[in-house]
Symmetry: C2
Subunit: 223 residues, 2 copies
Amino acid sequence: MHRVKVRVVEDALDANNTIARANRDDFDRHGVTVVNLMSAPGAGKTTLLERALQGLSVRAGVLEGDVQGSLDADRLASLHLPVVQLNTGNGFGGECHLDANMVRSALPALPLEDIDLLIVENVGNLVCPAEFRIGEDVRIMVSSVAEGEDKPLKYPLMFRACELVIINKLDLLPHVDFDMERFLHHLDAVHPGVETIQLSARTGEGVDEFRAWLERVPARVPA
Amino acid sequence: MHRVKVRVVEDALDANNTIARANRDDFDRHGVTVVNLMSAPGAGKTTLLERALQGLSVRAGVLEGDVQGSLDADRLASLHLPVVQLNTGNGFGGECHLDANMVRSALPALPLEDIDLLIVENVGNLVCPAEFRIGEDVRIMVSSVAEGEDKPLKYPLMFRACELVIINKLDLLPHVDFDMERFLHHLDAVHPGVETIQLSARTGEGVDEFRAWLERVPARVPA
């Protein structure tokens, strides 16, 4: 039983990688750089995008992944960017992550010819999104100080599978038991040398640094 | 491809339910009531247990579920209760939830004859734990005010699959954008009439009410 299950999982990951490469070819053909934005539920991904995408110097679009509903896509509507909602609850079994096939199903709704940067906001989850490539160039992980300093040790795959770790909700630091030095020490243990940005999406502190990072993404990806 | 996948998932859930019933039989034979404690990562489940299990009038044990590591079990060691760590990363493929088979594998390490109440702290995740029964009597969902008031609408299955919703980190209310009335309205939309307890595991406010709830669990479960 266990061997069969492992085989099924391996086959599914192989199939996913094949579709991820097809997505990547489509993105490359349109010159679109793709960011996979991951975090636990409630870490502040959408609030961060509301802030960071205002005044961005590259043409961006957003693919919103959720189990159900379109709350986050609705919040981003005022940015006047192309925003497409993708629900894993519709025909995808309510999956706890986006996979390459789900993203592929959304491609026809995305105006790839009109954007340079596509940000895919993944389903809030600290385990499975790290296992499924979707054809992205870079992966960003958002962790909030309200979640505690132990998260890199408890969810190491997620903190390893990214090029940037954002530490959000800096404004809550005086009100929670979170030792930044210890968090960074844990993070360095699982992903030595990974880039970090500390910010507060709520107050805006540090968001300029993230916006500048996003604007440099196309340049950091080898053509 | 998609039909095959659905079939595999259905078979897996059937197999899970069979094992969950076997767990339940074992728990019943020893007169142990079982609580499945679920939440997003960092919602404060372990801190809540550290507080609530002190001075509990029934004999409790804890099964700690994590992808890897034993940080939470180590934190609970000072309570001098039976605590068993279960890692989904060891032989279970790094699963994002506990299932009945994983819990079954831990049963030999649990002194069922010495406890009346077993609390199973699930892997931090707002999607998959709701789909896998483990042989529990009641399910408790912990949501923190730092996660935002939209969570019941975004993860309805989780908020529906529980008998009690704990709203944690009340001490952060002055520092976050969280409208309690709106959260309760959203919760009522997805799970009308579900019991709720508002508390702060950090300050201890409201924890007495939760402890009393836990002590009443064996009585509320039909024999």
